[in-house]
Symmetry: C2
Subunit: 248 residues, 2 copies
């Protein structure tokens, strides 16, 4: 099992080959075996296969081709809707229209998603997460007809890989692991921990291509800008409110 | 291959046996192989082994004994602190003091946590998630000395199991999976999907023990009450603001 985890790469090119129903079923069952808060399972997975709906999702996922190419698109949602209906049908007063419940449900959805990802990869499939899910959650809600108390938190595209990308780099383990207490980073720590990432050939070519000075500027000025982050923050908070998780 | 995932149970009793440094290392490396947004790795893992700190964590995790018993307690945090320091040191303007960045970092942390959980279980260890992490995040911040832009999102206790609990039930797959569009639940759907859970012997004894009428009432009246959820919602939002993710 650790092999599948260690060999993970995000796959962005997929073959046409369909994924059989039995393989998909195994992946989904693996998803449902993840821990959830109080075993409430307050998440849902919406599976998209139809071209028409995939095209709509492709639009909102910034037109990333893999959304059209991969046979399966799985949208993972924080979902208290089912649980609340159950409560109401069982003379119970559900108090889940609040932020903590959103976080609880988002956590359930994300742990299930990662189980599906690992299970898929252990079956020879490739996967890629779509961070664009939180950016355009409002549009995904419309496309997938998600009711109140359901909020998309992440998306996996899934299928047989058409290529085998290199493993991507990671920071040294000591960059993300702290023993007993958080040890804050000195200037020297940062230089040392980011050295390999910053001195790679990929980094040099990215910096040149973008006419910038540092790799960090590619993140702040091009990929994850203050302006975009602030815009999408407001938008996602509005979605969470509209779906009922902020007393809205 | 999927066996470790399918055999997952939350372990609440642990042996004294320590976890070797090499096994822990493998588990942590598995954690870092999870996908993260833009490969930014905006999370941290704080490992607690010392009894003094474990006792402090045990207090804030509602005195659940497994926190003291398990040799390892891993607190997973949304962490933009390291990335922001790096940006500032590289002439880049980090725009990550907003809600979307919190969600991005929390997602990174949760996918890494689930990789660690699966890797640990595939090595014969037991794990249990502590949902209490979000309830008392403010106190965890104090105990682990987490700086601004670091917020605890979940905790795993980890060690060799002292017992082998039964697999817990799950709703049928059709309860959490939707094809193409979200299909809302009819009254009959709810009755059918919750039937097994509601008719189990465990449920009957829980209802009797709590002198309630339905299983749903155990959730709403005892385990996850409106009052608690509203209190902890406000508290967690305050933490997110105080740590810098809501323009605070």
């Amino acid at each position: 099992m650790i092999d599948a985890i260690l060999n993970h790469r995000s796959v962005r090119n997929y073959k046409n080959d369909p994924v059989s129903q039995s393989v998909l079923q195994e992946i989904l069952i693996a998803g449902t075996r993840a821990s959830t808060t109080g075993n409430m399972q307050v998440y849902s997975i919406v599976i998209t296969r139809e071209t028409v709906i995939k095209k709509q999702l492709w639009e909102v996922h910034f037109k990333q081709n893999m959304v059209l190419q991969a046979p399966l698109v799985l949208t993972f949602c924080a979902d208290f809707n089912r649980f609340i209906i159950w409560c109401l049908q069982r003379k119970a007063d559900p108090g889940y229209d609040n932020f903590l419940s959103f976080i609880t449900a988002a956590t359930d959805a994300l742990l299930a998603a990662q189980n599906c990802a690992v299970a898929a990869e252990s079956k020879g499939l490739g996967i890629c997460y779509l961070g664009t899910t939180t950016y355009n959650a409002d549009k995904i809600i419309d496309i997938l007809e998600l009711p109140r108390f359901v909020v998309p938190v992440t998306t996996l595209v899934m299928g047989y890989p058409a290529d085998n990308p290199e493993l991507t780099d990671r920071l040294p383990l000591e960059a993300v692991v702290h023993s007993e207490k958080y040890r804050n980073y000195t200037s020297d720590d940062i230089d040392r921990l980011y050295l390999d990432k910053e001195s790679s050939g990929l980094t040099s070519s990215l910096i040149e291509l973008n006419s910038l000075e540092t790799l960090a500027q590619i993140f702040t000025d091009k990929r994850y800008t203050r302006k975009d982050n602030e815009y999408f923050s407001q938008k996602y908070l509005d979605v969470i409110r509209k779906q009922g998780f902020l007393g809205g």
